[in-house]
């Protein structure tokens, strides 16, 4: 990697291994505007907002320029400012500028930069044909009329997830981003991971907004609204209210939901403890029976959907355990049946998730009873942030309140479900007979944690040597499957999370680069560290319920098969 000193706007700046001039400029404290540059993805160089001028007046994009020793550049000359304004004007000319009612208003990069660069007039008229809005996906809305062709969605879909559901179609003035054959998203293999929406700088791809349904339920006196909150949500909501990524705001969130009129507030970690116990038991049973291996974790609905659509022969390997959200919901439905009749109310169950694919999971036939879904509505972290804002609640100033009993109690190992490696760690904690403090520390040091794309760990259980892998970012899971196809690798247990970083990096979370996702994960580990209950089987409510339930009932409520015969 290159090392040296360059001059930016007359100021000498040293660089050491930065991958492009843009990163050096940002390091020097200058916020270079970009649309198509996303540091977690490959460099595309299409938007030309990051242009710089060299000593001889040559203008080029800093994102695709390698830093060289002795380089002299300007970032804000009169010509550059004029270019940027013209680019913005041209983008606005072919953009549906109904800003005030746009899902992305206030968070839109185009809106922000047009404001920043003082674009008050657009001299060009929009000559494009209006394109149809695609609402066919259960999780994502695509509005091509707002697309600025930066290609972030195309690259995240291909590079991070390996899916390539959308790509550029046609060229020149006819260019669009669309699925193959201009199909609707529902007609493709899209797994609803939503990462395209997470990186879209404008409102061209957004997460389906279901805030209206939530308010209607909360305000309906005939409904008992019961909420469950996923682990990754509590370490991200605060970001929208001036708190840091990783700050646990669960208790403020409970207060806010109470103020908004929600009746009962529980914790998805309660469901996750059931998942850990069931999944660990299933794993032990498979070890006894000699397979099938690997056992894949089943918490991530986008991962399950991927196997169904593109690799169905591995469906036999996936754990039969429902996800924590669906386990929680099934138990809630079962327990509240009698209560609902008694109180003359209907329970309306809302799950607050960091995930867009959970909207798709909640609508699956497997999780419906007599046409009624166990989870009535999934709200993303961003949607709940918007609802808190709409209510005028200043989250950062609220008093703290604990979730309700009995389903508000979860172990520390359930909290780390929200970060890559967490599910595997929870299962290992349950499987290893040594329950001492030092055993927990050893498990923490195994190498299941961390941001590496794939982590491989060997665990000794009695005289058995168990090989465990943890992958996040679907492309890494796909590569692992390919190796297994070729017989190159073998594992007993594989944890897969579709999104990079695990659920903390879900597409329902506030916008954030990898560094932010890592901080959220650290926040979850901190919750685990300070939990009195570290292991699923030590959750007294969960174990009592599980014992009462009996095997048959447990199978009905907690297990599901995705295999189609």
């Amino acid at each position: 990697m290159a090392k040296g000193i360059m001059t930016i706007d007359g100021q000498r700046v040293s660089f050491d291994g930065e991958k492009n001039v843009l990163s050096v400029i940002r390091k020097a404290g200058i916020e270079m505007p970009t649309f198509c540059y996303h540091s977690d993805l490959s460099t595309y160089g299409a938007c030309r907002m990051c242009v710089v001028e060299d000593g001889r007046g040559k203008i080029d994009a800093s994102c695709s320029m390698e830093p060289r020793d002795g380089m002299v550049i300007k970032t804000n000359s009169a010509r550059l400012l004029k270019h940027r304004r013209t680019i913005l004007e041209l983008l606005l000319a072919s953009h549906d500028c109904n800003c005030t009612t746009c899902e992305k208003s206030g968070k839109c990069h185009l809106q922000a930069l047009a404001q920043q660069f003082g674009v008050r007039n657009v001299r060009f008229s929009d000559s494009r044909e209006r394109a149809e809005i695609d609402t066919s996906s259960p999780a994502i809305v695509r509005d091509p009329n707002k697309c600025i062709l930066c290609g972030d969605c195309v690259r995240v879909c291909e590079e991070m997830q390996g899916m390539n559901i959308i790509d550029f179609v046609n060229r020149g003035s006819q260019m669009r981003v669309a699925p193959a054959f201009n199909r609707m998203l529902s007609e493709t293999n899209c797994i609803s991971c939503g990462q395209c929406a997470a990186v879209c700088p404008v409102g061209a791809i957004t997460v389906k907004n279901e805030i209206g349904e939530a308010w209607r339920a909360i305000h309906n006196p005939k409904l008992r609204t019961v909420v469950q909150i996923a682990p990754a949500v509590r370490v991200a909501v605060g970001e929208a209210f001036g708190l840091s990524a990783g700050d646990n705001v669960l208790h403020r969130l409970v207060t806010a939901l109470k103020l908004m009129g929600v009746d009962e507030i529980y914790d998805t970690t309660f469901g996750a403890d059931f998942t850990t116990i069931s999944e660990a038991e299933e794993f032990k049973a498979r070890l006894k029976a000699g397979g099938p291996f690997p056992m894949f974790t089943s918490c991530c609905p986008a991962w399950v959907k991927y196997l169904e659509k593109e690799n169905p022969r591995y469906l036999h390997n996936i754990s039969t355990c429902k996800s924590p959200m669906e386990m929680f919901a099934a138990i809630l439905r079962d327990k509240y049946k009698a209560k609902d009749e008694e109180d003359g109310l209907k329970t309306y169950h809302i799950a607050i998730m960091p995930c867009t694919a959970k909207k798709m999971e909640a609508a699956r036939e497997e999780f419906k009873q007599n046409g009624q879904p166990d989870v009535d509505l999934v709200l993303t972290t961003r949607e709940i942030i918007d609802m808190i804002r709409e209510s005028g609640i200043r989250l950062e100033e609220l008093d703290l309140e604990a979730p309700d009993l009995p389903f508000g109690l979860g172990s520390g190992s359930a909290n780390i479900y929200g970060v890559t490696g967490g599910v595997a760690e929870a299962v290992v904690r349950h499987c290893i007979p040594d329950k001492s403090r030092n055993a927990l520390r050893e498990i923490a040091e195994l190498g299941l944690r961390g941001d590496e794309a794939r982590k491989e760990v060997t665990v000794h259980l009695g005289d058995q040597e168990l090989k465990i892998a943890v992958v996040h970012g679907l492309i890494n899971a796909r590569n692992l499957l390919k190796e297994m196809d070729e017989g190159k690798s073998f594992f007993h247990l594989v944890e897969v999370m579709t999104c990079h970083g695990g659920c903390v990096g879900g597409a329902g979370q506030p916008e954030g680069l990898n560094a932010v996702k890592i901080k959220r994960g650290e926040g979850l580990h901190a919750i685990d560290d300070t939990s009195m209950i570290k292991r699923a089987e030590r959750n007294p409510v969960a174990t009592r319920l599980l014992n009462e339930m009996g095997e048959e009932k447990a199978h009905e409520l907690l297990h599901v098969s995705y295999v189609k015969d």
Binding site: E158, N164, I165, I166, D167, F168, V169, R171, A180, F181
Partner: protein, 163 residues
Amino acid sequence: MDAKTAMLNRAGEIIDSYGSKRENIIAIMQDIQAEYKYLSGDVLSLIAEKLGIGVAKVYSVATFYENFSLEAKGRHIIKICDGTACHVRKSQPIYDAVYKYLGLSGKRKTSDDGFYTLETVACLGACGLAPVMTLDGEVHSKMDPDAALALLENLKKEEGAAV
């Protein structure tokens, strides 16, 4: 074996002949189109599968180049030159007359009976003979609407007689 399976088998052979390498995608598409005059959706999906890339990527490449056609074409292809020289020597009325003769509408370029497909071409390099048109690659010079239609009538009659 029906026509569709035959086309997919042949496309598979062509892809294999290029070692199923993704850097050969354009050559593969050109070869398949040379034989079948267009690239069907199934063919694009097959290319994606064999090269190990997404269908969206293949579709992206296919729609980027004007030369690739994603719709089945007629048995005979008419190209009317609309380069500068032909244009000023009134190629447009020829195009309009043929368009009407074939009963086309909107973006539909192929006649209902699947006999003719009408296209334009930017320049054939025969500006001295303008306006020109080609019928299945054969150049016809100094055309006018009547001559063009007579040409098409003729071919149709000949083939009709042969069948």
